[in-house]
Symmetry: C2
Subunit: 233 residues, 2 copies
DNA sequence: AAATAATGACTGACTGGTCAGTCATAGTGG
DNA sequence: CCACTATGACTGACCAGTCAGTCATTATTT
């Protein structure tokens, strides 16, 4: 899974008279010198992941420079390679770490047995508060934008996150359908329930500056229409 | 609007003793030697655009190599620069040329005054036949993936395409609402109508291989539920 | 408790491969 | 016959990944 052929290091000529190493650099400023190694190490990792999210989401995977990620994390470039195998691993780990926690939250939602209107509200609030108003929004946008070029990552995301979310939503829809609250055929397409969320994320990235979108209101409108009581059938 | 600082060519050293130019290359095979210059020229342009779409949509903007685009179009790399200023222009022109024609089609749809169920069918069919089953799907996916890094392009797309499509859909919704066929508040969010289309495109790119999606059926389900007769309100 | 040694986290200059864009040269249609 | 079209080798910028060297911290000895 490589975007370019490997840049193997087959240099045979010995490297001589290198290094002079100027005076001593300012050490990483961000992290207090106290704290045990373990803690500092975890903080570094997080700082790198956070910086990577910023860089990847403004420039995209290819265009993002690890030099910039390092600078933003107040770390030397080499340090990144102590925590992640390569640029791609960093990217995958970023997505993994941000999205995995979502699953539990949503599965919990799927199990509760509450009336449909309440459920609808919860779905909307969960999305707005846990995704749209956090950096997870950016991670999902990254997944959408770059996922196609990382089949392994898409597979991971499908297997570990999406399929479970879909299963949860589906079981929830199935129970609502059994109670006659929604038509049976909606159970086949849980994607429909989530669709405006996706639109919101994409819109936010591309067109917010031309035409702001009231996400909560849109989501509310959508679920209300989907789940509204119907005349027949 | 640049991803990297310009690669200006400020080389001062004169380039000497270059060029030897080997024998003569096989000429571009794809385009018949007949045909007037104008026709050949237009065909080349199209071949380049088509090749660019393939390359951009499999590798992404940054990773796509113009060498590959050239090879795929049976053209030398330099030729691309006779038709497009640079890689970015090529990309923008690609999106521009593929999506602009959509507008007229959809505006026509927005003006017809037909009963809602018929309209719903037409919307679904239009999307499936004119977008999902054509390369426009790939162009829209490109727009979604890369648009964020091309603010100018996003603006163009919003101004020339999206805002007009939205206006058309909105006017169509407004009339339906006036006839009492749908609730008023749906008029505020034409995005909701299009949302499953977007989901379909993204899904197709990322997850189709794990779980195929019957797009036509999903779209149909969605518009039927949105436009279904309601009990109250 | 102070001195000394061992550890390994961290650094950043450097390398090699890559590719957008150029331009000297070669063909060709009108 | 020459203006226009096309070519593709070449250049310079660029950047992921490397690794020899530097200390801060921890462990050990005295």
């Amino acid at each position: 899974m490589m975007l370019r052929p490997p840049r193997s290091r087959k240099s045979k000529t010995p490297r001589e008279n290198r290094r002079k190493r100027a005076v001593q650099s300012a050490r990483a400023a961000a992290i207090p010198a106290s704290a045990s190694r373990k803690v500092r190490s975890a903080e570094r990792r997080d700082a790198i992941l956070s910086a990577a999210l910023d860089e990847f989401s403004t420039r995209g995977f290819e265009a993002a420079r690890l030099d910039d990620v390092a600078r933003r994390a107040s770390v030397a470039k080499g340090t990144i390679y102590l925590y992640f195998r390569d640029k791609e691993s960093l990217f995958q780990e970023l997505i993994r770490s941000m999205l995995t926690p979502l699953v539990g939250t949503i599965e919990a939602l799927g199990e509760a047995d509450v009336p449909l209107p309440v459920l609808a509200d919860r779905i909307v609030e969960l999305f707005v508060r846990e995704v749209y108003e956090t950096r997870r929004k950016d991670v999902i946008r990254l997944m959408i934008s770059e996922g196609r070029r990382f089949p392994k990552l898409a597979e991971f995301y499908y297997r570990e996150v999406l399929s479970r979310i879909i299963a949860a939503v589906r079981s929830l829809l199935r129970r609502a359908a059994a109670r006659g609250e929604i038509p049976e055929r909606l159970v086949d397409f849980p994607q429909i329930v989530a669709a405006p969320g996706l639109v919101a994320i994409v819109w936010n990235g591309l067109f917010e500056r031309f035409e702001p979108l009231d996400v909560r209101k849109m989501m509310k409108t959508h679920v209300e229409l989907l789940f509204a009581p119907r005349r027949e059938k």
